[in-house]
């Protein structure tokens, strides 16, 4: 490693600490990473940016040992290596820091840093030395955390510091920070940046995955832009601009992907939300969805979109605000109330909230209309099965039989079952939360067709999606949320990807690049 004449630092600057070449990753038939390459050099902070699903996290996880690449080569200090698991990654000096810290809530800060490797003396754990070493490490990061404190009760930011200290104690030289600022306050972000600069000055390589452009332009030296699993640009921060990066992130002509919904006249206001607030989640959210209209709700993960949907559907109670369904003021205390009013919610996480995985398709599909299909509490199973089969055929669910358990279906077909379940309730308002997440392209197109048909039949649709092309392609209007507030509204004519992204990330709209 140390060739004669060259100082280690100088050599580090020549050879990247870690590099990936021609990396591919395939999940369930989809290539989420295509021929991606990246170099992380000593003493640099390197941003990886892209839309949701562009492959940033996958790339970081491959280098951090959480995923193994389907194809491709990873090098550490120039030498080809394999990183089968996070343990191996840390042994090779690579630490992956997650948005949600992986810590042990009941153990102390010091122990969280040294867990599994506590210093011992005569076979006994040496608590004094451990605390002293922990204090030294935290001091090196400039973090003011009591090493004796329990992790439970520390902020996410402090827990991230503890994870960084743990990585440092294992001589990590490469830090992969995956959306670590997403749940931090501005002050905590500043503190994190100070620590990142400290590590940078010690010759570490840092990869920073994030969405907020101002943060990236403040802290990063280089920017790698990803789109659809591919690397589309490698830029020096000082030679580029926020509008350019946004343009590269969005890239392709979006409208081409989704057929515009057929123009049809809108009906009366079906769902009206007025000044809805819930402390810690969202504030002062107002909008209207008309019969036959698809309203897209765009924003970054964590902007509060799902929370608004849950409050409308009665899963959580808003602190303030007013709801109107079909023109009448209503109070929705529970999902039962919502369903009675003709409001349906197709949740984001179908595994946990939408489906009973081991149960048959028809059982799942008829769950929401169990009352209608039963007489004096006795379920009329034959009739239920027939109706479910009818819907399954209409939605083109690929299955042997409606008696097949839903866990045997593909993600796309599971999603169709969830949709079918709610369609059977004949809703007037349907809220779809990430309806195409994790399903393949063909199924996606069918789900989109279904949504368009629904709207055409006069249902008011609120479409929450983190996929910009989807929101923009499907929606008659696009609302944008950021940090719990509604920050933008665009109709088809004014909604450009750049504007929506700018609103979602808190940038001034780039006037020059608009269409």
């Amino acid at each position: 490693m140390t060739t004669a004449g060259a100082t280690p630092i100088a050599e580090d600057r020549l050879i990247p600490l870690v590099s990936g070449e021609k990396l591919w990753k395939n999940f369930g038939g989809n290539d989420v990473l295509k021929d991606a390459g990246i170099e992380l050099r000593a003493g640099e902070i390197h941003a990886i940016v892209g839309e949701n699903g562009a492959g940033k996290s996958t790339l970081a996880k491959i280098i951090g040992g959480a995923h193994t690449p389907t194809r491709g080569v990873v090098r550490v200090r120039g030498a080809v290596t394999t990183i089968p698991n996070p343990r191996s990654a840390i042994a090779q000096g690579i630490a992956l820091i997650h948005q949600e810290p992986l810590t042990f809530p009941d153990l102390s800060v010091a122990e969280n840093i040294f867990v599994g490797r506590q210093p011992t003396r005569l076979g006994r754990i040496d608590w004094t030395t451990m605390r002293r070493d922990a204090t030294a490490l935290l001091g090196r990061l400039g973090a003011r955390i009591d090493p004796r404190a329990a992790i439970r009760g520390l902020s996410v930011a402090d827990q991230q510091m503890v994870e960084m200290a743990a990585a440092l104690s294992q001589h990590a030289r490469v830090f992969l920070l995956d959306e670590t600022t997403a749940s931090l306050t501005p002050t905590e972000v500043k503190e994190l940046f100070r620590v990142m600069r400290q590590l940078q000055s010690e010759g570490a390589a840092l990869a920073f995955i994030g969405h907020r452009m101002e943060e990236i332009f403040e802290i990063c030296d280089r920017i790698t832009v990803m789109r659809d699993g591919e690397i589309v640009a490698r830029l020096l921060t000082r030679e580029t601009s926020i509008p350019e990066v946004l343009r590269l992130m969005v890239g392709r002509p979006i409208e081409a992907m989704f057929a515009k919904t057929v123009e049809h006249a809108l009906g009366p206001a079906m769902l009206e939300v007025r000044a809805l607030s819930r402390r810690g989640e969202f504030r002062d959210v107002s909008f209207t969805v008309h019969a036959g209209e698809i309203v897209g709700l765009a924003g970054l993960v964590g902007a509060g979109r799902t929370e608004v949907a849950r409050a409308i559907f009665g899963v959580s109670r808003p602190d303030a605000g007013e709801l109107r369904v079909n023109g009448a003021a209503v109070t929705i205390r529970s999902p039962r109330d919502a369903m009675r009013l003709g409001v349906a919610l197709v949740p984001e996480d179908r595994q946990h909230h939408g489906l009973l995985m081991p149960n048959a398709i028809w059982r799942n599909a008829t769950l929401a209309v169990i009352r209608r299909l039963s007489r004096f509490t006795w379920l009329r199973n034959g009739s239920a099965r027939r109706q479910a089969a009818d819907y399954a055929a209409r939605l083109r669910v690929k299955c042997r039989d409606v008696r097949q358990p839903v866990r045997e279906l593909s993600g796309g077909n599971q999603q169709k079952v969830v949709l079918g379940k709610w369609l059977m309730t004949n809703p007037r308002v349907i809220i779809l939360d990430e309806p195409t997440r994790g399903i393949d392209v063909g199924a996606k197109a069918e789900v989109h067709r279904l949504i368009a048909d629904l709207a055409a039949s006069g249902v008011a649709v609120l479409l929450i999606s983190s996929e910009l092309p989807e929101v923009m392609g499907m929606s008659d209007r696009v609302l944008v949320m950021r940090e719990g507030r509604l920050v933008g509204e665009f109709d088809r004519a004014t909604a450009t990807a750049e504007r929506v992204i700018a609103a979602a990330t808190g940038q001034a709209p780039p006037a020059a690049t608009a269409a």
Binding site: R87, F104, L107, E111, V115, Q118, I125
Partner: protein
């Protein structure tokens, strides 16, 4: 409006929270109240014989609870400890009776080893076969109890068939015929060992790590399976020892009675003593006090003339009370447990 203070749950000062969160103080208070009340009502309660009897029965519970503590700390549970106590105790009793083994210490060692082997079966079921702990140990609970009848042909091993030294462990101690017989010393030894293991060894700290956050433990390079397997072996070994202590205390080994119901008492003692059933939190001191409290309640109720059935109600009640109080404290003061 932006004030973050408002949205936080009310927090007591750290020192006060520590006292409330620390299970030791309230248990101690309840314990003193029970002892005082019973002693005033029935002075015989504090006689040497009575005290020794309480301590001997608590000693058994302590040994079993130490094994259970480790299992609970990893988010598991072992309901087969009573049956393991029975099978190990009965098997060694038969070895004594048929004079394959005459030395009491060798017999005890064999009992511990047999218990460890029975625990290893649980460990393999949980780690290798991925059976949920409650189901795995519920199964072996039945299997081991059945085998106890099989090896004994349903007959009891009587006092005269056991080595003469064994019963003496429950009577004599390092200070002669006093309130502290050898059985109690052994239990304290096991508790001390467990405390050192948990507090001062990497193995012990791994147990906390695995229970606290299994995913994080795996990512930090801890062999989660090996730790999990180990705690079931330990639990079996303590049950094996408990089998011998049981034989010493009662003088005879009955296939139906030996160890029966002990799993419930041990789990109760752990939970009352502050071990979280969600894993990752709990101390030996707390469990010791839990054992002391439950054992005292048992004897106090007997001394006060309460029927056996009501004693069972009292245990169940004590567990529920402890868990409910814990949950309330956690919600009110942002303390431990849950999540």
């Amino acid at each position: 409006m932006e004030s973050t203070v408002v949205s936080q749950p009310p927090m007591l000062p750290a020192a006060m929270r520590r006292v409330i969160a620390a299970r030791e103080l309230p248990i101690l208070i309840v314990l003193v109240l029970i002892v005082a009340f019973t002693a005033v009502t029935e002075p015989r309660f504090l006689s040497t014989d009575s005290t020794r009897s309480i301590l001997v029965s608590i000693a058994l519970l302590v040994v079993l609870a130490m094994g259970e503590t480790l299992v609970l700390l990893t988010r598991g549970v072992d309901v087969s400890i009573g049956s393991m106590t029975g099978l190990a105790g009965m098997t060694i009793g038969i070895l004594f009776r048929d004079q394959y083994v005459e030395n009491v210490y060798l017999g005890t060692l064999l009992g511990i080893l047999l218990g460890a082997a029975l625990g290893a079966v649980n460990g393999l079921l949980v780690t290798l076969c991925r059976v949920p702990p409650i189901i795995a140990t519920l199964g072996t609970m039945g299997v081991y109890r059945g085998l106890t009848f099989v090896v004994s042909a349903g007959r009891q091993v009587d006092e005269y068939q056991l080595p003469p030294g064994l019963a003496g462990w429950s009577v004599r101690g390092p200070f002669g015929q006093g309130v502290v017989p050898w059985v109690v010393v052994a239990a304290l030894g096991v508790a001390g060992m467990t405390a050192v293991l948990l507090r001062f060894t990497r193995i012990g700290r791994r147990v906390y790590a695995v229970g606290g956050n299994p995913e994080a433990a795996r990512l930090r390079g801890i062999a989660v399976g090996r730790v999990t397997f180990g705690v079931y072996v330990f639990s079996g070994a303590t049950a094996g020892l408990a089998g011998m202590l049981y034989a010493s205390r009662l003088g005879a080994i009955n296939p139906e009675a030996i160890g029966s119901g002990m799993e419930l008492m041990a789990i109760a003692a752990c939970v009352v003593g502050g071990v979280s059933i969600f894993g990752g939190s709990g101390t030996v001191l707390g469990v010791l006090l839990g054992c002391l409290l439950l054992g005292t309640i048992e004897t106090a109720l007997a001394v006060l003339g309460v029927a056996d059935a009501w004693q069972k109600v009292a245990y169940g009640g004590a567990i529920l009370l402890a868990v409910v109080a814990d949950g309330i404290a956690a919600r009110r003061w942002g303390g431990s447990s849950s999540a």
